[in-house]
């Protein structure tokens, strides 16, 4: 019985240690001393190499943050490590807006080629004029 408690205790300890470590791993902050930072110009050059067009370059949470459009013309926001100029996090800025747009297009029947054009031709009556279908639940 005591032995069981010991196992339970140690596994709980391991679990809590893992949970405590998780937020530290999930953090996107950069912890680079200012002395080791590369210049803003270096970030701009790196961006040019990647084919980015930089609209804004700022410092956020100890990292460089670039907003701009990528080589394919999509808007994005990227977090850059100030020492290695490595991309830590990349977020397509207008992805959500794009998705909303897609859904809107899906909802909008005029964007559906199957619907556009030939729908319910009122000139070809389906039912005998003056009658409507009747439904009954039993």
């Amino acid at each position: 019985m005591k032995h069981h408690h010991k196992i339970l205790g140690s596994s709980l300890l391991a679990l809590s240690a893992a949970l405590a470590a998780a937020p530290a791993l999930a953090s996107d902050d950069c912890e680079v001393p200012v002395a080791r930072w590369q210049s803003r110009e270096a970030v701009r050059q790196m961006a040019v190499q990647k084919g980015w067009e930089v609209q804004r370059l700022k410092i956020d949470d100890g990292c460089y943050e670039v907003r701009g459009t990528d080589a394919e013309g999509r808007g994005f926001k990227a977090k850059i490590d100030p020492e290695t100029l490595e991309v830590i996090k990349l977020k397509q800025r207008d992805r959500k807006a794009d998705q909303r747009g897609d859904r809107k297009r899906e909802r909008d029947p005029m964007h559906d080629p199957r619907v556009r054009g030939d729908t319910a031709s009122p000139d070809k009556p389906l039912f005998t004029p003056g009658t409507t279908p009747r439904g009954q639940i039993e």
């Binding site: 556009r116 729908t119 319910a120 039912f127 439904g135």
Partner: protein, 159 residues
């Protein structure tokens, strides 16, 4: 003496009326639902033509328009039809219940590649667009067809 013109008029009226009668047929569609153990089903009973394009709505069971998007195929295909709900809506159909739809269909629709389609949706259960598709033919009349998820059988009669 006076009866002759009346009789002629009657015959003439009958002759004139008969082509009109021949142009439409009453169709009786009976849909029996399974005991799927859920809320009342939303059903859309509609017709598509030989090319699969939407032709018209026969019946929509279920009163709340906000749920019509779950009858996905019907909702998409009929979106261009502003009158798709004109007088053809009723209550949703409970599990195990039977829905009977009666319509006077144009004769030209029968044996012409048209299909009866049914979309079904139940709250908190899977949507079943095109739950059932039956060609609208004289041969198929009276034959029972089963649906994919909620419809136990659909039978239609031509009169």
């Amino acid at each position: 003496m006076n009866q002759k013109p009346v009789l002629t008029a009657l015959i003439a009226a009958a002759v004139l009326a008969s082509p009109a009668l021949a142009q439409s047929r009453e169709v009786n569609i009976t849909t029996q639902l399974k005991n799927y153990g859920g809320d009342g089903a939303y059903l859309a009973v509609y017709l598509t033509d030989a090319q699969g394009a939407y032709a018209g709505t026969l019946w929509v069971a279920g009163g709340k328009a906000k749920y019509y998007k779950h009858l996905a195929d019907w909702n998409r295909l009929s979106a261009g039809d502003a009158k798709r709900l004109a007088g053809v809506t009723g209550a949703s159909v409970g599990a195990g219940r039977k829905l009977t739809v009666t319509a006077d269909l144009a004769d030209a629709l029968i044996d012409a590649g048209y299909e009866i389609r049914v979309d079904a949706a139940v709250e908190d259960m899977r949507d079943s667009p095109s739950e059932l598709r039956v060609p609208l033919t004289t041969d198929n009349a009276g034959k029972s067809q089963a649906g994919k998820a909620y419809i136990q059988s659909l039978t239609y009669q031509l009169k």
